[in-house]
C-alpha cells in the first residue's frame, strides 16, 4: 500500500515536471514549426503542429525582405568589438583596483559601482546628442563605445584577482617580471573562469540587445539583427507569421546552438554572477 502511494506520487511529480518543461520549451518549438509552414497553414484554427511540407523557402523570403546580410555582419562586428574592447580596458583596471594601493582608490571604485547603477534608459538622450556632435552617429561606434567600460565586469574580475595570492606576484617581481607580464602571464590565466563568464554575459546581452541600437541608429546600414527581425512585421505584414518566425529562427539559432552544447557552463556562469 505504502509503495503504491509512493509510485503514484513520483509518477505525478514526473508528469508535472514534464508539463512545466513543455511550457518553457513549446514556444520555441512552435516558432520553428511556424517558420516551416505555408501562409494558409498558419491561419488554420484549430492550429496544427506540423507543416504538411517544410517550407524552407520562408527563410529565403525573410532574408531577402531587407539587408539581412548587413544586419548580421553588424551584429557580429558590434558584439565582438564590445567584448574585445571591454577585456582590454577591464583587465588592467581590475588589476589596479585589486592589487595596488593608491590615493582616491575607494572613491574611484565607488564611481565604477555608480556607473553600474545608472541604466542606458536614462542616459540615451544625452549620449545620442553627444555622439551626433562627434559626427559618428551614422557609424557602428555608438553601439560599441558606450559599453567600453564594463562596470559589472571590473567588479567581478577584481573579486577574482584579489584571491590570487600576493606572494606569487611578489616572487615574480623578484624575478624582474614587468607588471604587464605579471598581468598577462599570471593574473589572466588564473582568472579564465571569471573572464569566460564576463565574455559570455557580454555576448548574450549585446547580441540580444534591442533598446540601445533602436535609439542610437537612424539608418538601415548600421542596424543589427534584432532591429531587422522586429521590423519584419512592418515589411512583411503584421500577420505573415511564417516569414516573421523564419527570421526569428535565424536570430535565435546561434544562441540556442551554443546553449545546446554548453548549457551547464552557461547556466553556471549566469547563476554565479547573479549571486555575487
Amino acid at each position: 500500500m505504502h509503495s503504491k502511494w509512493r509510485l503514484i506520487q513520483s509518477g505525478t511529480s514526473y508528469t508535472l515536471k514534464g508539463v512545466v518543461l513543455l511550457i518553457f520549451i513549446f514556444p520555441f518549438l512552435w516558432m520553428i514549426m511556424t517558420a516551416l509552414k505555408t501562409f494558409p497553414e498558419t491561419m488554420v484554427f484549430p492550429p496544427r503542429l506540423l507543416p504538411a511540407m517544410p517550407q524552407w523557402s520562408n527563410f529565403v523570403t525573410a532574408m531577402q525582405s531587407g539587408p539581412f546580410v548587413t544586419y548580421t555582419i553588424n551584429s557580429v562586428i558590434v558584439t565582438v568589438s564590445i567584448i574585445i574592447l571591454q577585456m582590454v580596458i577591464m583587465i588592467p583596471a581590475a588589476y589596479a583596483f585589486a592589487k595596488y594601493k593608491f590615493k582616491g582608490q575607494p572613491l574611484l571604485f565607488a564611481l565604477v559601482l555608480l556607473a553600474f547603477m545608472i541604466p542606458g534608459q536614462v542616459t540615451f538622450i544625452p549620449v545620442y546628442l553627444m555622439l551626433a556632435d562627434w559626427g559618428i552617429i551614422h557609424t557602428l561606434l555608438p553601439q560599441i563605445l558606450p559599453f567600453a567600460a564594463n562596470a559589472f565586469g571590473i567588479f567581478l574580475l577584481r573579486q577574482y584577482f584579489m584571491q590570487v595570492p600576493t606572494e606569487i606576484i611578489e616572487s615574480a617581481r623578484l624575478d624582474n617580471a614587468s607588471e604587464f607580464k605579471i598581468m598577462l602571464k599570471i593574473m589572466v590565466p588564473m582568472s579564465v573562469p571569471a573572464l569566460a563568464t564576463i565574455g559570455l554575459f557580454s555576448f548574450v546581452s549585446h547580441w540580444n540587445d534591442y533598446f540601445w541600437p533602436l535609439v542610437m541608429t537612424d539608418s538601415m546600414n548600421v542596424r543589427p539583427l534584432t532591429i531587422g527581425i522586429a521590423m519584419l512585421r512592418e515589411t512583411e505584414g503584421i500577420s505573415n507569421w511564417n516569414i516573421i518566425m523564419a527570421g526569428n529562427v535565424v536570430l535565435v539559432l546561434p544562441i540556442l546552438l551554443a546553449y545546446l552544447f554548453s548549457s551547464k557552463q552557461i547556466v553556471k556562469a549566469f547563476v554565479y554572477s547573479g549571486i555575487k
Binding site: M31, A148, I255
Partner: protein, 294 residues
C-alpha cells in the same frame, strides 16, 4: 630612481584611466547633460534656437495625464511581475531541489533557463503569435478546457496582464536557479538538527530555509524591481504602448517624446533616475542593516 618612483605612483592611475574615461564620458557626464536638457526647450534641428525654460518641463510633466498613466502602469507592472516571479521561482526551486528524479530535474533546470538567454525580440514575437486572438494557440487551449477566448494584447483590459505574463515566463527560470543555488548552500547539518527536534516541514521551511536564503531573495527583489521599472522592449514590440495607452510605461513615454519634445523626455528621464536611485539606496541601507545570518 626618482623617475621610477614617480612612475610607480602614477601606474595604477594609468591602468584605470581608460575605464574611468569611458565611465565619465558615457555615464557621469550624460547624467549632468540630461539634467541640463531637462531645463531646456531643445531644438533638435537648430541647436542655437534651444532656450532655457526653467522647470517648465517638470510642470508639464506633473500636469500630464499620460505621464501618470505611464507611471501607474509601470508601478503595477513592477508589483505584479516581481511578486509573481518571486513566488513561482521559489516554488520551482524548492521543487527542483528534491532528491528524486535527478535527470528530469537537470532537464528542467536547462529548460526553464532557456528564455533568459534569448533576445526579448524573439520572445515578444513568439508570444504575439501564441496570443493571436483568432488563430493563436492560447485561445485554442482556453477553448479546449471550456473557457472563453481572450483578446490578450488587443484589448486594453487584458493587454497589461499579457505583457506581465510574458515577463514572468522570461525571467522566472533565471531567478529559480539563483534560489536553487542558495538552497543548495544551506548546510545539511541544520536540517538534521531540525529533524532531531521533530520540527514540522512547514516550520523547518519558515524558520530555517527562508531566513537562510533571504540574502538571495532580497538581492532578486531589488534587481527585479529596478529592472521592471525599465521595462520597454516587450511593450515596444508587442503593443506599442496600446491599446489606449494601457501598456505605456515610463521608458516608453521617454522614448515616444525623445524627438518631438526632447526637454520633456529628459525631465521624465530624471524622474526615472530618481526612482532608481531611491530603490538602490534602500537596497544598500537594508543590506548593511539586516539579513546577515551566517
Amino acid at each position: 630612481m626618482n623617475r621610477r618612483k614617480i612612475w610607480e605612483t602614477l601606474r595604477p592611475y594609468v591602468m584605470i584611466l581608460p575605464a574611468m574615461l569611458a565611465i565619465l564620458c558615457f555615464v557621469i557626464y550624460p547624467v549632468f547633460y540630461l539634467l541640463k536638457l531637462s531645463f531646456y526647450k531643445y531644438n533638435l534641428l537648430n541647436k542655437a534656437k534651444s532656450k532655457f525654460v526653467g522647470v517648465d518641463n517638470y510642470e508639464q510633466l506633473f500636469a500630464k495625464d499620460e505621464f501618470y498613466t505611464a507611471l501607474t502602469n509601470t508601478v503595477w507592472y513592477t508589483i505584479a511581475t516581481v511578486s509573481l516571479t518571486m513566488l513561482i521561482a521559489l516554488l520551482l526551486a524548492l521543487w527542483i531541489n528534491q532528491k528524486k528524479g535527478k535527470k528530469i530535474n537537470a532537464l528542467l533546470q536547462a529548460g526553464i533557463f532557456t528564455p533568459h538567454i534569448i533576445s526579448i525580440v524573439s520572445i515578444a514575437l513568439v508570444w504575439m503569435l501564441l496570443m493571436d486572438p483568432n488563430h493563436g494557440i492560447l485561445n485554442f487551449l482556453l477553448k479546449l478546457v471550456g473557457l472563453p477566448p481572450s483578446k490578450w494584447l488587443q484589448s486594453s483590459s487584458t493587454s497589461m496582464m499579457s505583457v506581465i505574463l510574458v515577463s514572468i515566463w522570461h525571467g522566472v527560470g533565471y531567478y529559480a536557479l539563483i534560489i536553487l543555488a542558495a538552497l543548495k548552500s544551506v548546510p545539511p547539518t541544520i536540517y538534521e538538527a531540525a529533524a532531531l527536534d521533530n520540527a514540522s516541514r512547514f516550520k523547518t521551511f519558515y524558520k530555517i530555509t527562508l531566513p537562510m536564503i533571504s540574502p538571495q531573495l532580497f538581492f532578486i527583489l531589488i534587481i527585479m524591481t529596478i529592472g521592471s521599472f525599465k521595462v520597454f522592449d516587450t511593450v515596444r514590440i508587442m503593443t506599442g504602448g496600446g491599446p489606449n495607452n494601457s501598456t505605456s510605461t515610463l521608458v516608453y513615454h521617454i522614448y515616444e517624446y525623445r524627438s518631438n519634445n526632447l526637454g520633456y523626455a529628459s525631465a521624465t528621464g530624471i524622474v526615472l533616475m530618481v526612482i532608481i536611485a531611491i530603490l538602490t539606496f534602500v537596497y544598500f541601507r537594508m543590506l548593511s542593516k539586516k539579513i546577515h545570518y551566517q
